[in-house]
């Protein structure tokens, strides 16, 4: 085997390992934080997940977002593959993104505003 081939294999192997670590490291537990819902890059709703006591849903751009105590997920989507539904609950560093409908659920650190639920 050529020397350069060996080097390429080693470089790609390191990239695989590095990316694997990044993927695993980004998988935090998302409870107790603020969820921001985006549609077309604009903020649609900001919800402090600590204050959610019972499950409720919100319709955003053809998708249904479900808020439950400490968690938020895409409950339903009108696109054919429904990848965002399969992504499960959003967490810090692991947002749920629906590309076809351009809806995004982003979790940020613990809320400091004290606002219960703001929709705007």
């Amino acid at each position: 085997m050529k020397r350069s081939t060996v080097i390429y294999i080693i470089v790609f192997a390191f990239m695989l390992i590095g990316c694997g670590i990044l993927v695993l490291a980004s998988d935090h537990n998302g409870s107790g934080a603020t969820a921001t819902v985006y549609l077309d890059g604009e903020i649609v709703a900001v919800v402090d997940l600590n204050t959610v006591t019972e499950t409720w849903t919100l319709a955003v751009g053809g998708n249904t977002v479900e808020f439950s105590p400490g968690h938020v997920r895409m409950l339903d989507a009108c696109c054919p593959d429904g990848l965002c539904v399969r992504q499960g609950y959003a967490s810090v560093g692991k947002p749920v993104i629906c590309l076809p409908n351009r809806v995004m659920l982003v979790i940020s650190g613990p809320a400091d505003t004290g606002v219960d639920a703001v929709a705007g």
Binding site: K2, S4, T5, Y8, F12, M15, L16, G18, C19, G20, L22, V23, S26, Y38, D40, G41, D81, L83, C84, R86, Q87, G88, G93, K94, P95, I97, L99, P100, R102, M104, V106
Partner: protein
């Protein structure tokens, strides 16, 4: 304008047709992961094969025909933007980093990385957010694995088929 040899033209058209067929069959597969954009990209085997057996222009032709016809037949405007940006970047990188045939799979991996980077950029522009780049590590892993798979496929085909399709 220099006329293209019928042999080359026929081979390019044949590869483009196979690429479209492979692309369609692949689109029937269920998604592999919940991360959007993770797929084997088998149609790139044909672009790669065209690049090594016929040349740069022919490879560009195979890719352009496949992306345009795929958009007309199956996809909408959205998926066309993704596949055009990904395909174009992939082609440019493979043209620049065209290694010897024994290392075709390495060229393929570089192309796959460029493809996924291009798609992620389109996603960021369409979504108007950089948040989509959290998928970069996932897509890099996918690019390395899928690029190796499609590259080795094209490489094996090259060493077994090319002697039969050479001109003259």
């Amino acid at each position: 304008m220099k006329r293209i040899h019928p042999n080359r033209l026929t081979q390019t058209a044949l590869l483009a047709a196979i690429a479209l067929g492979v692309w369609y069959l692949e689109s029937l597969l269920p998604p592999f992961t919940a991360v959007p954009g993770v797929k084997p990209g088998l149609a790139n085997c044909l672009t790669l094969y065209a690049l090594y057996t016929l040349g740069r222009k022919e490879a560009a032709g195979v890719l352009t025909v496949r992306v345009l016809l795929a958009a007309v037949l199956a996809g909408g405007m959205g998926s066309f933007l993704y596949s055009a940006a990904g395909g174009l970047l992939c082609l440019l990188v493979m043209l620049c980093v065209k290694l010897p045939p024994q290392q075709m799979w390495v060229t393929s991996v570089f192309g796959a990385i460029a493809h996924n980077a291009g798609q992620l950029t389109v996603a960021a522009l369409l979504m108007r957010t950089a948040v989509v780049f959290v998928y970069l590590p996932h897509l890099l892993i996918a690019a390395i694995l899928a690029g190796t798979l499609t590259g080795l496929t094209a490489q094996f085909a090259y060493f077994r088929l090319h002697k039969y399709t050479k001109e003259g």
